[in-house]
């Protein structure tokens, strides 16, 4: 085209155009070919890759956590249930930018620094595509806020979880224990498959002891989700097996009576059905609201509970080890009778003190302090139990010797854990020569035997142990293992065969009669409490001198005096002829057992017996 053409040449223009059109058509065909190759490559060559990718997009295997078993009292009153609680969680894989999402959420609802800190801890040990909880117990308003803004918040999930709720949190705090969120240490111990989808685990007490029964078996479902992680369709489902519902031997009315009778003082009550070992009440006060612990207790709440000098977290019923004081006298009396050390008629002269042969030191009777004299010139076992004569038992203990006392008392469950179905039980101490050598590396002194003889010195027992010993006394030797569990899914649990503590019938009768007299004879130490009762009861008071319970407490000067007061204890059973309930009461620094603890024992027994009378 070097030549200049001045005029339009339609023929040339048309020819050039046709040539260019052919060229362009070839290019168009080539490029369409490229497109076709591309789609062929994606849809045929790489089909498998993308099909897998697409399935992974939409199908997820979701664990279905089982419903935790419910807990009822023996009358069928619901004690622990599961309530829907709305939880705000994040699926981190689907959250475009965590920082801004958290900011946006904080605008919609309160999110504390504590929430975020806990969230980050949980996020560290999550499985991919797990929803990590950020906030629990969303209010209706908060849920509405989130629902409105859902499309701005990809990866944010609100779902209902069933969360443990304790209707009577404080009343049953120690009897039931509580569940809490699975900790890192627990994560390492649990069956990871079965706990996939489970957030809570029994932390303490019955909830922990029966974790396996209560938890149930996890289920699974294959679900199709959309890009926002919302479940659209269930493709396949293996339902979870819910945990067993447990009915406890605890009776809410007895529990309530004990709780109210303790009236906020530091103390514990354990009541048992002596013919099965079923625990009717287990109260330790002060209690605390177990619901606080379910979703992670705030550090303020926790330190308040932990640092309280009343030790609300401490389960006095099974962890509190008290000198039983005179409440052991029926057992030691029986020991003397059985060993032949004394008979029912054996009487001693009580000037108000006892002196070991060849020694100067006087072991004083409590009456010396009160009225300057002893219990009289002829105190027999009946009177010694009824009036709680220390001199009689100094003598008895001295003559029997510590090892004989130990050997006779051990089958009553003293000095070893009872094996009750909960956690953190303590064993107390039933001393002996070998115990002292082993535990203290020292020899036994005769004077120590005298102290043990009136339930002081090295002797320590928990309220549960005292309740068990009282049950054995009441049933003339039947030792059932104490047990909270009554029925699993409405099937009664076999209490197991009792072991037998053997003693002569006449000796049981002697001791029983003396314990009856404690309530119903004018000279009985709990006569005031027994007055007006239509039911005949049997009991024994105890007053333990202490410097405080064996806890590492810090006292301030003002409080020392109050906390140095005696522990008041009481054991009892009723009805006298055919015992249905055995009780042990301990009131820390409460003063005399007959004054402070006996009325509590009576209220507890009355509550139960009224209850059974009503039922029959």
């Amino acid at each position: 085209m070097s030549k200049y053409i001045a005029l339009k040449d339609p023929y040339l223009e048309s020819r050039i155009f046709s040539a260019r059109t052919v060229l362009v058509m070839l290019m168009v065909l080539a490029l369409l070919g490229v497109l076709l190759l591309r789609y062929f490559n994606l849809q045929v060559s790489q089909f498998e890759t993308y099909r897998t990718e697409s399935d992974r997009n939409r199908v997820q295997l979701q664990p279905l956590p089982p419903k935790r078993g419910l807990i009822y009292d023996r009358n069928g009153v619901l004690l622990a249930e599961n309530r829907p609680s709305y939880v705000l969680s994040l699926v981190l894989e689907r959250v475009p930018e965590l920082g801004s999402t958290l900011d946006k959420l904080a605008e919609l609802l309160p999110v504390s620094a504590n929430d975020i800190e806990k969230f980050e801890q949980r996020a560290k040990r999550r499985r991919p595509y797990d929803a990590v909880p950020l906030r629990f117990r969303l209010s209706e308003e908060e849920r509405a806020q989130l629902a409105v803004n859902r499309f701005q918040l990809p990866g944010v999930v609100v779902d209902a979880q069933l969360v443990r709720h304790y209707e009577h949190g404080s009343l049953f705090s120690h009897a039931l224990g509580y569940v809490g969120r699975i900790s890192e240490e627990e994560q390492a111990l649990i069956d990871e498959v079965n706990y996939r989808g489970t957030n809570h685990i029994g932390k303490i007490g019955l909830e922990k002891h029966y974790e396996d029964l209560l938890h149930g078996q996890v289920g699974y479902q294959n679900v199709e989700t959309n890009a926002l992680g919302r479940v659209l369709r269930v493709l396949e489902r293996t339902p979870p097996e819910p945990g067993a519902n447990l009915t406890l031997s605890l009776d809410i009315r007895v529990q309530q009576a004990a709780y109210e009778a303790l009236d906020g003082r530091r103390g514990a009550v354990v009541a048992m059905d002596p013919y099965s070992g079923g625990v009717l009440a287990m109260v330790s006060t002060p209690g605390f609201d177990t619901n606080l612990f379910v979703n992670g207790v705030s550090s303020a709440d926790y330190s308040a509970l932990r640092d309280s000098r009343d030790l609300p977290l401490f389960n006095r019923a099974i962890q509190g080890q008290y000198p039983p004081g005179s409440t052991v006298k029926p057992i030691f009396g029986l020991a003397g009778l059985e060993a032949g050390t004394v008979t029912a008629e054996t009487a001693i002269k009580d000037p108000g003190w006892y002196v070991l042969p060849g020694e100067e030191r006087r072991f004083r009777d409590w009456t010396l302090r009160v009225r300057g004299t002893g219990h009289g010139d002829a105190v027999n076992l009946h009177q010694a139990i009824e009036e709680s004569c220390d001199t009689y038992f100094y003598d008895l203990a001295y003559r029997m010797g510590i090892d004989a006392l130990h050997d006779f008392s051990a089958p009553f469950g003293l000095g070893e854990v009872t094996g009750i179905d909960t956690t953190h039980e303590r064993a107390g101490i039933l001393p002996s020569r070998s115990w002292k050598r082993r535990a203290r590396g020292q020899v036994w002194f005769p004077g120590e035997t005298l102290n043990v003889g009136i339930g002081q010195g090295h002797l320590l027992a928990t309220p549960l142990q005292l309740a068990l010993a009282t049950s054995i006394l009441a049933t003339r030797g039947l030792h059932y293992q104490p047990r909270l569990l009554y029925k699993i899914d409405d099937k009664p649990v076999d209490p197991g065969a009792p072991t037998l503590v053997e003693a002569d019938d006449a000796n049981w009768a002697t001791v029983h009669d003396a314990m009856r007299a404690v309530f119903h004879d004018v000279r009985g130490s709990a006569f005031a409490t027994g007055r007006g009762s239509s039911i005949i009861m049997a009991g024994k008071s105890g007053t333990a001198q202490v410097v405080g319970i064996a806890q590492d407490e810090e006292y301030n000067e003002e409080e020392v005096y109050e906390r140095h007061r005696d522990h008041g204890l009481f054991i009892a059973f009723a009805p006298y002829e055919d015992p249905e309930i055995a009780v042990a009461v301990a009131v820390e620094n409460g003063g005399g057992g007959s004054k402070v603890a006996a009325p509590i024992a009576r209220r507890v027994m009355d509550a139960y017996l009224a209850d059974t009378a009503e039922r029959s």
Binding site: M1, I5, A6, L7, K8, D9, P10, L12, E13, S14, I16, F17, S18, R20, T21, V24, M25, V28, L29, L31, L32, V34, L35, L36, R38, Y39, F40, L42, Q43, V44, Q46, F47, T49, Y50, R51, E53, S54, D55, N57, R58, E93, R94, P96, E224, T225, N226, A227, L228, L232
Partner: protein, 379 residues
């Protein structure tokens, strides 16, 4: 039209016979048939892509009806009239683009619409017709191949509206505008030295353009195209999900309404720019082949019309409109399948969206005018 041509014996014979319905109303039947099949297929895919909402299909159907009416009207206008109106229409279009810069409204960080009482529209869409018209008008009255100064003026005619559209910013439309004009230039027989030279210039200016001209989001798109995994949940998400949708469709597809990627919202923009992924997922490669065949047939018809056009204006215009249509197809299908960066170009006559459908069909109306004008004249 010269007297010489009118008095040709065959022509008069042709004129003597009663014109058929399609001749009388300037309808190119093969093209119309293909368009009807394509738009029907589009509605079927759209129903699935919109999450099975009849509402979306009905809205799109209304646009189609409007677009077919516009097409038929455009087909009735004589080519002389097009030529006469073109310069004024072009100037008005540029004026509207300027108005967009100053008074426009927009969404997603771009300012593309002019709001008039009652409705709003994109002047850049009108320019998709005005640019090829203006170029064809300008060049057809010159001696072809065009001399240097005409090429320069042509480039100005292309560059001005394209630059205004880039400012909005709307890279996809600017690309379509510029290519529709350049196609006219190319088809006019412009010398190869211009073509080679401009390609060299384009490559040389790529770096400055990257640094100074492209917006961040445009750079993102290009970077993400090169490596979608770079930003899996952000910019790369679209491409990964659309490739997954296409690939998992396989040869025969998952079935209509059964595409998991599209029905479960994994696929973004599934009813607009990414609708081809829905078709590919649900109908498989078979469906893609059917669609490509339809497009190919429409393109071939377009080329046939332009080859048989009587004068340079018609030829240049027809071929440019056809090639622009092809650019739509190629850019959209390329970007959704991860061959090209994501620029906002819809799949022609399938993606939901009113304005692009109306302009495309107006273009086909002009093609029909060209096709039927010729027949009235006779071979």
């Amino acid at each position: 039209m010269s007297d010489y041509v009118r008095q040709m014996p065959e022509a008069s014979a042709d004129l003597a016979r009663n014109p058929s319905f399609s001749e009388r109303f300037h309808i190119d039947l093969p093209l119309l048939g293909l368009l009807l099949v394509l738009t029907t297929l589009g509605l079927v895919v759209l129903y699935s892509a919109s999450g099975q909402k009849m509402g979306a299909v009905i809205r799109q159907g209304r646009y189609f009806i409007l677009a077919y009416v516009v097409m038929l009207v455009a087909a009735q206008v004589s080519l002389q009239r097009y030529q006469r109106w073109t310069p004024w229409a072009y100037l008005a279009g540029v004026g509207l683009l300027l108005a967009v810069i100053f008074f426009g409204t927009g969404a997603k960080g771009a300012q593309r619409w002019l709001a008039l009482p009652g409705f709003r529209f994109q002047p850049s869409e009108i320019m998709k017709l005005m640019v090829p018209l203006a170029l064809a008008w300008y060049l057809s009255s010159r001696v072809l191949p065009p001399k240097f100064q005409y090429v320069v003026i042509s480039l100005v005619l292309i560059g001005l509206p394209s630059a205004l559209v880039i400012l909005q910013p709307d890279l996809g439309t600017a690309l379509l505008l510029a290519s529709s004009g350049l196609f006219v230039l190319f088809m006019s027989g412009i010398g190869w030295r211009y073509i080679v030279g401009s390609i060299a210039l384009a490559i040389a200016s790529a770096w400055p353009a990257w640094v100074y001209m492209l917006h961040d989001y445009q750079k993102q798109r290009i970077l993400t195209l090169l490596n979608p995994e770079r930003d899996k949940l952000g910019a790369g998400w679209n491409i990964i999900q659309s490739k997954t949708a296409i690939g998992s469709g396989g040869w025969s597809g998952k079935g209509w309404l059964n595409g998991t990627q599209s029905q479960l919202d994994f696929l973004p923009e599934s009813h607009t720019d990414f609708i081809i992924a829905v078709l590919a997922e649900e109908f498989g490669l078979r469906g893609v082949l059917v669609l490509l065949s339809l497009y190919l047939l429409i393109l071939l018809r377009g080329f046939w019309i332009s080859l048989n056009a009587q004068d340079s204006f018609s030829r240049l215009l027809a071929s440019s409109l056809t090639l622009t249509f092809f650019v739509y197809v190629f850019v959209n299908m390329g970007m959704v399948s991860g061959l090209l960066p994501v620029v906002g170009v819809p799949l022609p006559l399938v993606s939901a969206g009113g304005t692009s459908i109306v302009t495309l069909m107006a273009g086909f109306g002009i093609l029909m005018a060209i096709s039927t004008e010729k027949r009235l004249v006779g071979q």
